[in-house]
């Protein structure tokens, strides 16, 4: 086990009570330089999670509440004419941060969504012909509400693909909820919490993760999985090469989190439901596949010896 990781997770879990597995996945995603999509009901703790992650990693944090009347400029920033200087002056939008919480992303119009998603992919913002690089590291934690169908613009598959992982937080269990109700893990704890790591350390971890080696056998297994999604009658479309890379990158990060510098099939199995869940749909109804069902389906793919 990677001690650095463990201490971060312990600290975050003290605020986000009962959400350790999700914290692990979120960290795995962020250290793999991926963006995270959290899909759950309001009030479950999505915002708290994003805040805790940002604070714990010692990164800047901004939050955007997406609404249907939002324009790209509200995210990226606008140029305003400065009368004294007689020039346009750029006022950077909330995107110029390190951890960006994009709340209820599916409530914005596709035009606004795509402004954010372009920045996510390119790690830079282009407005009025001028390109500005974003601060590094740059993570987007987006949330979306599955129930609120009215007045939403669901993210198309191609844009969902930009997110490395999609996780669900779920209700806390009874014991955890009791602690929440008692008052542990409240805002006060968050305020009192110090940073666990400096943001240089994030670069270090990212660099180490990219050095995690993929053996032939591991790649064989990964390819077997990808091939399975493309040939199986269960899926509408198979995984794209980008999805394959995402799987590998997430596995790398997970392996590093486990304190290894090489990947084993278990790493892939751990991250797979969260990496492929928003990328695969059933062939017949075009519906998403629940995570438990996904694990069942993938247990048909044997691990090569």
């Amino acid at each position: 086990m990677n001690k650095q990781f463990e201490s971060i997770i312990k600290q975050i879990s003290s605020v986000l009570i009962g959400k350790e597995p999700q914290v692990r996945l979120a960290l795995t995603c962020l250290f793999a330089r991926g963006h995270l999509l959290i899909e759950d009901l309001p009030g479950i703790g999505k915002t708290t999670m994003a805040k805790v992650l940002a604070k714990c990693l010692g990164l800047d944090f901004q939050r955007i509440q997406f609404t249907s009347d939002m324009l790209p400029g509200d995210i990226l920033g606008v140029s305003i004419f400065d009368q004294n200087a007689a020039t346009f002056h750029f006022h950077p939008g909330p995107i110029f941060t390190q951890v960006l919480l994009a709340d209820e992303i599916n409530r914005a119009t596709p035009k606004t969504q795509s402004a954010l998603l372009e920045a996510m992919e390119e790690q830079q913002v282009t407005t009025e012909g001028e390109t500005r690089a974003l601060k590094q590291p740059f993570f987007v934690i987006a949330t979306q509400n599955p129930l609120e169908h009215a007045g939403t613009f669901p993210l198309p598959d191609s844009q969902l693909d930009r997110f490395l992982m999609r996780i669900k937080l779920g209700y806390p269990n009874r014991a955890a909820e009791k602690r929440i109700l008692i008052g542990e893990g409240a805002q006060t704890v968050l305020d009192a919490m110090g940073t666990c790591t400096m943001h240089d350390a994030v670069f270090d971890i990212q660099a180490k993760i990219s050095q995690v080696s993929a053996s032939d056998k591991f790649i064989d297994y990964l390819q077997d999985i990808i091939h399975f999604t493309r040939t199986s009658a269960l899926f509408h479309v198979g995984l794209s090469p980008r999805a394959g890379l995402a799987l590998q990158q997430a596995s790398r990060s997970w392996a590093h989190l486990q304190g290894r510098d090489y990947m084993i099939p278990e790493d892939l199995q751990e991250v797979m439901p969260w990496v492929v869940g928003h990328r695969l749909r059933t062939r017949t109804e075009g519906l998403e596949i629940p995570q438990s069902r996904l694990m069942e389906i993938f247990s048909q793919v044997p691990v090569p010896l």
Binding site: F218, Y262, I264, E266, Q269, S299, P302, L305
Partner: protein, 655 residues
């Protein structure tokens, strides 16, 4: 700091093993040189002494070469080559810095191994060379895989050598056999002992003290009885008063004398640095590469420096043709004035005898009854050696009797000469051939009878008839025998030693018949059998080349396919991990297809905590091999070993 232990020391070992058989052959200073250089290197690592830099190494090289020039300036033979190799091999390890240096040094060791063939081509040397090549190959593997285990290095070396066997057999059968010695060099160190061209009192006695094998004889049919086993080699014609000499003017002769009772046999003659060929009295055929002389002896054109095999036929009964007067006159010539008492004695005891037979009989009777004894330790004789022998010491070995007998015969006008060679031999009970040793050396007398020509008369037979019937070992008392015969009196052990000696000799003889006996002519016969009838050397080279090309193509094709599809390669990791899973599934813990190794391990451990150590170890090794990229042989063999010994017992039922 681990570096020298991983590579330099194995290289030193290979060099030392390679040079070991030459210890007796190298001058003392080169051996000391090697010991100092090879000893200094490990010590320099241990005590952090400085190692010589380039200047000192150059100086040492210069000193070594000057030393070699002084030592070998007279003769530039293979020993000089060996000396150069040894001197340089001693310095080379100091220079090892890169992988390339290591490789060169290992190949130097191979060169030194080859030079063992200068020594001999016996089974023992061949076996030692095999060992040495094995060690050197293991070291070669070692320096390319320093992390591996020695055991694996040796295993791979053995495998490589085993794979080379077909090629070795092919090269042996088809590589053009060279008539003569390897590299065209002579084996100077092997001409040990044997007859010289003079015979003085004591010269045979000295020879007898040597237990070396003179030659081995394989008879086509049964071995003739001991009294017929006179191995003729040299004829001593001239007497100068003390020594007998070979007649240098003896001419070549066209054909051996006629005879009866032919015996066919093959002799394997050990090198003796002279030209004599030994043959059963009387040779009836002339072997190839031999010359027949008028005194019925056979000689080669050059002195014999390598083992030599020749097949011949001899007639045990023979009728020599007439002899010319010139030879007969030479055969009664004696120097004036020597041994006057013996001359008088000979005249006296043959006074009334008329025929040659009678005279010869009288003299033999005199030896038989005159109180003479047969001993290997005769007293020293004075200027009139024959007089001293007959009238004073009366103790002698065959050369004393033959010399006195021939002298007496000549003094009364009967042509006589001394023949040198061997008498008898030991039968090897394991292979039914005869071993004739230097200790069987013998001289006897040939007398010219006007009617029947030259005939063998052995005065030793008159004095000590058991010498002829039982051989030297049955004749002399233990005290009289030289040291090496003492082995026979070690009690029960001596019998065992004798058996081992014969067994070893039989194996060696079979070996040399098989490998050294595979001559040029036999190779040609083989080539003819497989359809190559003409052309000799060039064709056999071509055939060899063609076969090598074919083998190369097969190996190349195999390698190409193997590289092209790695799946075809037997995957040992897969095989043994599957075996491991099968063993566990028999114990009721089957692996699910989608279970990774760690999940499976955890699953097993949850159910069977008693298997923790083994399962954890095996899984860890498997993960190392499969996912960590640690594919070294040692990890693999460790993994295989652990899976092999892994025996999960069925879980005991809980009730």
């Amino acid at each position: 700091m681990n570096e020298p232990y991983k590579t330099i020391f194995p290289i030193l070992t290979a060099l030392i093993v390679a040079i070991f058989p030459h210890i007796g052959n190298l001058p003392v200073w080169i051996i000391l040189w090697c010991v100092v250089m090879w000893g200094y290197l490990p010590l320099s690592f241990k005590f952090k002494w400085p190692r010589p830099g380039i200047k000192i190494r150059r100086l040492l090289t210069a000193i070594g070469i000057i030393g070699l020039l002084f030592t070998y300036s007279r003769r530039l033979d293979q020993n000089a080559y060996l000396g150069l190799l040894a001197v340089m091999a001693a310095l080379k390890p100091f220079e090892i810095a890169s992988h390339r240096d290591r490789m060169i040094t290992v190949f130097l060791a191979y060169f030194i191994v080859i030079t063992s063939l200068f020594l001999a081509e016996t089974l023992a040397i061949t076996l030692y060379m095999l060992l040495s090549v094995g060690i050197t190959t293991a070291v070669l593997i070692r320096i390319n895989d320093p992390a591996g285990r020695f055991k694996d290095n040796f295993k791979l070396a053995a495998l490589i050598m085993a794979q080379a066997i077909p090629l070795m057999i092919l090269l042996f059968l088809l590589f053009p056999r060279i008539e003569g010695s390897l590299f065209g060099l002579s084996l100077t160190n092997t001409g040990k002992s044997g007859f010289s061209d003079t015979l003085a009192p004591g010269s045979v006695t000295n020879l007898v003290k040597n237990d070396d094998v003179a030659f081995r004889v394989l008879f086509e049919r049964s071995i003739p009885p001991a009294p017929l086993l006179y191995w003729r080699g040299i004829v001593f014609q001239d007497f100068d008063g003390r020594k007998w000499h070979v007649d240098k003017q003896t001419r070549q002769w066209h054909a051996p004398p006629e005879g009866k009772n032919p015996v066919s046999y093959t002799i394997t003659l050990e090198p003796h640095n002279n030209r004599w060929l030994f043959a059963l009295d009387m040779p009836a055929t002339i072997p190839r590469s031999a010359i027949f002389y008028k005194d019925y002896t056979l000689r080669t054109r050059r002195s014999i420096k390598r083992k030599m095999r020749y097949s011949m036929i001899s007639n045990t009964r023979y009728h020599p043709a007439g002899e010319n007067g010139w030879t007969l006159r030479k055969s009664i010539r004696l120097p004036e004035g020597v041994n006057p008492k013996t001359r008088a004695l000979a005249a006296r005891i043959t006074k009334n005898a008329r025929t040659v037979d009678e005279k010869v009989g009288r003299i033999l009777d005199y030896f038989r009854t005159g109180g003479f004894s047969y001993t290997l330790k005769p007293p020293r004789l004075g200027a009139n050696s024959v007089d001293d022998f007959i009238f004073q010491s009366k103790k002698g070995y065959c050369e004393h009797y033959a010399s006195a007998f021939a002298f007496m015969l000549r003094s009364i006008g009967i042509p006589a000469r001394i023949v040198g060679g061997y008498q008898g031999g030991e039968v090897n009970p394991y292979a039914d051939y005869l071993i004739v040793r230097q200790s069987d050396a013998h001289v006897w007398v040939e007398i010219w009878y006007p009617k029947t020509g030259w005939n063998r008369v052995d005065p030793t037979a008159a004095v000590a008839p058991e010498r002829i019937s039982k051989g030297i070992r049955g004749t002399l008392s233990p005290d009289d025998l030289p040291g090496f015969f003492g082995r026979r009196y070690l009690g029960a052990l001596s019998g065992v030693i004798e058996q081992i000696r014969f067994g070893w000799d039989a194996i060696n003889t079979r070996w040399s018949a098989l490998f050294e006996g595979y001559s040029y002519s036999k190779q040609r016969a083989l080539l003819e059998k497989i359809g190559i009838t003409s052309g000799g050397l060039a064709v056999s080279l071509k055939a060899l080349l063609l076969l090598l090309v074919v083998i190369g193509m097969i190996v190349g094709a195999y390698a190409w396919f193997a590289l092209k599809s790695p799946c075809r390669k037997p995957d040992k990791v897969k095989k043994y991990y599957a075996r491991f899973c099968k063993k566990l599934s028999r114990a009721g813990l089957a692996r699910k297809a989608a279970q990774g190794p760690i999940d499976y391990m955890n699953h097993v451990l949850k159910n069977r905590p008693d298997l923790k150590d083994e399962v954890t170890e095996i899984t860890e090794l498997y993960v190392r091999l499969r996912y960590r990229g640690q594919t070294s042989r040692s990890v693999l063999s460790d993994f295989i070993q652990k899976v092999r010994v892994f025996k999960p017992a069925r879980k005991e039922s809980k009730d």
